[in-house]
Symmetry: C2
Subunit: 119 residues, 2 copies
């Protein structure tokens, strides 16, 4: 189940400030999703994983494109056509809408911090 | 002058892979802008600065919102109403459309790597 929370107080109207490496929840038994900015068509979120992977044989298939970058930790994304992509710190990938994908693995020893732009 | 380049070969159709910390140009006498992903309404770009600041008394004023995060280095953004915000690694800020701002300072000793989402 997705836990979506709106974090980080707006210090000025709409001018949301924060640090993507801070305010990491202690309980990471489930992945944690935080919306950092949002408009009608775009959502920017932080995802924190620790050892999770998508349920096997269950694919994400999204109506929007997703551009995602790993800022800490490491994870492997796999695609329906068989390709696996290892994402280390700084690696990004653009996942076009309706491209079936899943997270095969994320580092169990440290938090993996992702930044995702759904557009 | 803005140098906008499309970098990072698409390894698969539209599935652009890259690393935001690699392929840093040697010549940073001007800031370098790279488009990492783009749609009709959204542009995700990497900006690499080294000591640059915006020309004094010249404000950026954009039609789109800009969400920006510093991933390496450090910079100071100032706003027309006088507020200055120091952005260190991991700090992000959402700059609403038509909010006048400028880069007051960026670290002259190392590259400052920004990720900006115009939306």
């Amino acid at each position: 189940m997705r836990r979506v929370r709106e974090r980080y107080a707006a210090k000025e109207t709409n001018m949301i400030l924060g640090n993507v490496f801070r305010s990491i929840p202690e309980d990471l038994t489930e992945e944690v999703f935080d919306i950092l900015a949002q408009s009608k068509d775009v959502k920017i979120e932080r995802i924190v994983s620790k050892g999770q992977s998508s349920p096997s044989s269950r694919w994400y298939e999204q109506e929007q494109n997703e551009w995602v970058i790993v800022l800490k930790g490491e994870a492997v994304i796999s695609f329906e056509h068989g390709k696996e992509i290892d994402l280390k710190v700084g690696n990004y990938i653009n996942i076009p809408a309706y491209t079936k994908h899943r997270v095969n693995w994320s580092d169990p020893n440290t938090e993996t911090i992702w930044l995702a732009v759904h557009y």
